[in-house]
Amino acid sequence: MFKILQKTLKTGVVTSDYPRAAARVSEHFRGRPVFDFERWRDARPAAEVCPTGAITLLDRDATRQVTVDYGLCVFCGQCADGAVRITREFELATKHRDDLVFVAEYHLKPDGTHQKFISSSTGQERAVAASGAQLGRKIHQILGRSLAIREVDAGSCNGCELEIVALNNPVHDIERFGIHFVASPRHADMLLVTGPVTRNMELALRKTYAATPDPKVVVAVGACGISGGIFGINYATRGGVDQVIPVDVYIPGCPPRPEALLHGIMLAVDRLAPVRRTK
């Protein structure tokens, strides 16, 4: 007993200040690749090395449409070149799948490089669809500052689970926000779902969703949870979580670091404070 007290006192407070202060992130951390579409001379090398097809090209006549989908990105950093910069940004969660998709168009030279930038669009920059926002507010009103999460692994490699478990350690300590993980969907306000949703987990996921009382929010975690990731859709997988149940928030990453998960969870219940930047 004395040993426990001694060790506890010696350890002191280890909990991260995030989100009040910037997260402690290594200078070598690979976060969001940022694309300077106007200066990009050739998208082909990046598309070639991208392991999950997050960067795709559609060449038609002398034009090229480049699609960048952060919902497929595993943040490997291989696409880095003069116009693609790997940053340390990780707060990438969005309420709409489309908001993770960026499209740029180019006129091409005969050798296939870009001659002239035509346009780019930051996904479908729509007004926040009513349902999600209302749901968030409603949850916030009903539950105040408390939130109960049921985690569902619908087919993940277990990488996302490791980071979700890390939310409960003393460093990330998600309970300081009144957020706790519960053992049953019957006790949950939120389903935090990792994927890809396998054929063998589809029914279990549907049943878990049905067992969760309304109002409820669903958060899809990681590249596989958002889109199926590197597994995509095949004979054994259905792809992203939203192929099976409605999703309110998408958290990119492979896996998303604990702070990115926290950011996405807060976004889902409209509890995000004014934006801070990674130091």
């Binding site: 087919g155 490699c157 969907p185 063998n200």
Partner: protein
Amino acid sequence: MTDLVAALQREFGDRLRSLPSSADDQLYLELNPEDISAVIQQLGTRHGARLVAVFAEDCVAAVRVFYNYYVFDRPGDPTYLILRVPIPADQARFPSLAAEMPAVNWQEREIQDWFGIQATGHPNPRRVALHDHWPEVHPLRKDFRLDQVLPAFHGEQHEYRPTLGEGVFQVPVGPVHAGTIEPGHFNFAVAGEPILYLQLRMFYTHKGTEKLFEHLPVHRAVFLAESISGDSSFSHGAAFCQAIEKAAELEVPLRARILRTILLELERIYNHVADIGAIATDVGFVVANAQAGVLREKIVALNEDLTGSRLLRAFVCVGGVRKDWVPSQFEAVRGTIDIVERDFAELVDLIKSSDSTRDRLEHTGYLHPEKARALGIVGVAGRASGIDLDVRRDHPYAAYEFLEFHVPVYDAGDVLHRMQVRIDEVGVSANMIRSALAHLPEGPHRVAVPTIPAGRCALSSVEGWRGEIIHWVRTGPDNRLERCKIKDPSVNNWPALVEAVQGNIIADFPVINKSFNLSYSGTDR
């Protein structure tokens, strides 16, 4: 191994045919299905060889046969012996070994499910790798398309074996569990508190991984290998790269091999620390888990500093590692290892100071060494039950041939000793990392990947933190693969859980399960 091959050939004559091998640590022999039992019997009983893996390949389009492969090793010999058995497409069956060798039970059924080759005489030939509601398909056959759409899912039809008797009842658990863990179904038969019998149902996270490997160019497939089991991404990634490097006869620079070694050991340390904390928490010692959680964060922060990823992703590549480290990164390794070792000693001290913890762990979840041997248990769970196997020593890869290290082995076989193996290994790993750093030569950290010749076979093994990881590839044209077989140690070790829980109370199941901490995704693929 050559002496063993000679002895076998003396006995079986021209029924055993030598095949060329592109890797010098692998010998291939071909034999016919009718000789499987006799040859394997000889290998096991007379020559002390261990069956490492059994798997199949579809070569029907080219040569009208499936091949079954049986991989063996034996103590003190770094070479693998691989038996190849052609199975005619029009007589797709092979004699099952499962009755005598329970270790191949699931692996043979996997071949049945995925290839439609019947394991004749299998004591329990029911489906394992495809669930009961699946139609009659065999996804790893070449004529089955990766994106084939299967008819809609119609719910559960699996029947568990009945458990009869007065006061005996069944407790179904899963696939969605109470904790944040992977999905699987446990069906307990209990009489009061004690567990009489446990039936497992896995493959809920089957994602078509082995099939998908056949559709990706090698440089992309590395990322798929990293997604086989998220807590072993570096080990699986490295095992895959090694297989490709062997097939391509690509010499990996020593500097890269040493950097890989450091990261492989960091993966072991962060998982062992987390497991020790989780074992403590499952017997109510939450403070120890909190301390382990803090320590684990220090290690994964180092991982991020070294590789850009807390879980060591996207750093290993075919031909080496993606980036060399700058001096501050080497400093970070040295500094963190010292801190980890100091904090870890305090954590162990804390856990050992608690008599009630010891009381819950000792004799709990006992796995008898003989059962462990029969089931082919590997890794941490094996070493806690007297199975002296460690790929790092037995089949050295990366830079392990230059490192001297102790492999902890105990006979006690309980949760306490599965934890003790981890405690010992954290110390061993910390020393390995220091030693690796001290011997780091200058030189390149990667070499370019050449065009890989088609039709090459290569087997690679890695001692992941959980145990022996096997990757076997056969290359195709254009730096792609015709076949990639993955064997996570969990495939061997799940049946050990079934043995270890018998007679224990159901309340001890979580801690017993955690002491094995097997990968569902690695099993299901």
